[in-house]
Symmetry: C2
Subunit: 295 residues, 2 copies
């Protein structure tokens, strides 16, 4: 099989797999209270690139973990991501009516139910991970909590809130994004890698360097796509960052330099994988996809 095709097959298989895993850990659509169960399923299923689960599965391959050993970690990080999107779209945050090509959760279920759906998804993420039979499930929960909380995703969103209308320096922008999206990227890779053989200290540092570069590359590319994309290809409102006065890499660097920066981060992420040889193939391909995608 040529490499591009093998990658596409791997990626599609894992995307279908995580869809099934998520469907099975979510409350059934008829579980009481039905409105909450439906809102949770609506916000999680049938959409999204599943970037974080793919990172977890790909990191699992580094340590010879079969997909079934990684399922819980992959589901947990996607549930955290999904809850953050629901809360991010609420009127008091970004006030966005479109997400993954359909009405956002609060547009479909009302604000109060969307708030609760996000809350319940966060709880579910920790429940799935705690029951996931990882070698150190409590350590995994601690790692996910740190990546999601004040030092991670929620903290990054708070910085974002305080930065509206500002043009940040590249350093400030990168610090914000290391918290807002980078921390959960890092957790995805670390949790996937925690599902197989233990890593050496050197391997763990190399993997962290990969995740850091890949996470920033993802955000820089997102900023470029927000300017250049259309709502139909993005599945969300295009140009909204600029319209809301959000600081972006495009605003700080300009579009051409932002594209070059993303490319440099892609190369940096691939280079970090050198100690792993061929076992890191899927992580390397993910770095490519992160930068070369069109949505």
């Amino acid at each position: 099989m040529n490499p591009d095709l093998a990658w596409a097959v791997w990626c599609g298989e894992r995307q279908r797999r995580i869809e099934d895993v998520l469907s099975s850990v979510l409350p059934a659509a008829d579980q009481l209270p039905v409105a909450l169960s439906k809102a949770m399923r609506y916000a999680v299923l049938d959409g999204g690139k599943r970037m974080r689960p793919l990172l977890a599965y790909a990191a699992g391959e580094l340590v010879a973990a079969p997909p079934e050993a990684v399922d819980a970690a992959a589901a947990a990080v996607e549930l955290v991501h999904a809850y953050s999107l629901i809360h991010d779209d609420l009127p008091c945050m970004d006030d966005d009516a479109l997400r993954r090509g359909k009405p956002s959760c609060h547009a479909a279920f009302g604000e109060a139910m969307a708030l609760l759906a996000g809350d319940a998804l966060q709880a579910l993420a920790f429940g799935v991970l705690a029951e996931g039979r990882l070698r150190d499930a409590a350590g995994a929960c601690a790692l996910l909590a740190d990546a999601s909380g004040v030092r991670g995703m929620a903290g990054g969103q708070a910085v974002d809130l305080g930065s509206v209308g500002a043009v940040l320096s590249q350093d400030e922008l990168e610090t914000m994004h290391r918290m807002k999206t980078g921390a959960l990227f890092l957790a995805s890779v670390r949790l996937g890698a925690a599902c197989g053989r233990p890593l050496s200290a050197g391997e763990a540092a190399a993997l962290d360097a990969y995740a850091d570069a890949a996470g920033l590359a993802f955000q820089v590319t997102d900023d470029v796509l927000d300017v250049e994309g259309s709502a139909s290809s993005l599945g969300k409102t295009a140009g909204k960052d600029a319209a809301q006065g959000k600081p972006t890499f495009v605003a700080t660097l300009g579009a051409a330099a932002a594209r070059r920066h993303a490319e440099a981060l892609r190369v940096e992420a691939r280079a970090a994988l050198a100690p792993f040889g061929g076992a890191a193939r899927r992580l390397a391909e993910l770095a490519d996809w992160i930068v070369l995608r069109t949505h």
Copy 2:
């Protein structure tokens, strides 16, 4: 020491203790992002009866767990409770500007920051519990996730949302409250009891029966106080349930029968503790306090 005084001393000591524990696990007031750290501390510290931590400490005494062994469990359940109050007070939920005798979190910090503070507190709860060196920290996280999620607290709030304007039967009301407040009460007691010697199956069932009766007694008493109390003694807006058309035990049973029901639940909760003898003293006294309190 006479029993009432011994109880007051025990209760005051544990309330001061959990305040210190919470302060130490929360981000420092100057930790970046400062606004989020401050909102989290504001919503958690200097207020509240600390009923759930008291339940955890009292259950710990059943199994000879010293307070320091219970701190993580006690903090985790209070952090979940505190996050739920922040989200509950938001305009899209109960829209309440007063909480614990001061402006609610969103009134002080804005809606978006309050939303994020609640989200970050939930993550912190799982982080504290995961790192709490319980015998089975992963099992504890799974238990807390279940109590907080769609089958527990968040689910109960969704039922509550769907019940505005309705008069529920006593059965329906009790089902809702078993989810909304009962599940976290039960988790508080089970997590406290998980910090010492293992319970027999009979003891575990007795403890669950206690928690169930005490949790309902708490809610029935809350409904009575909401009608009979004042904002100054409650520290929150009085009469708001009735004003918002929320179903309450007072609406379903009448005030006098609701008070009798709370008293019967208090007796039931105490009776469930019979297998434990004197080791259950503090849990028994907590059941008394739950029903006989004036705020």
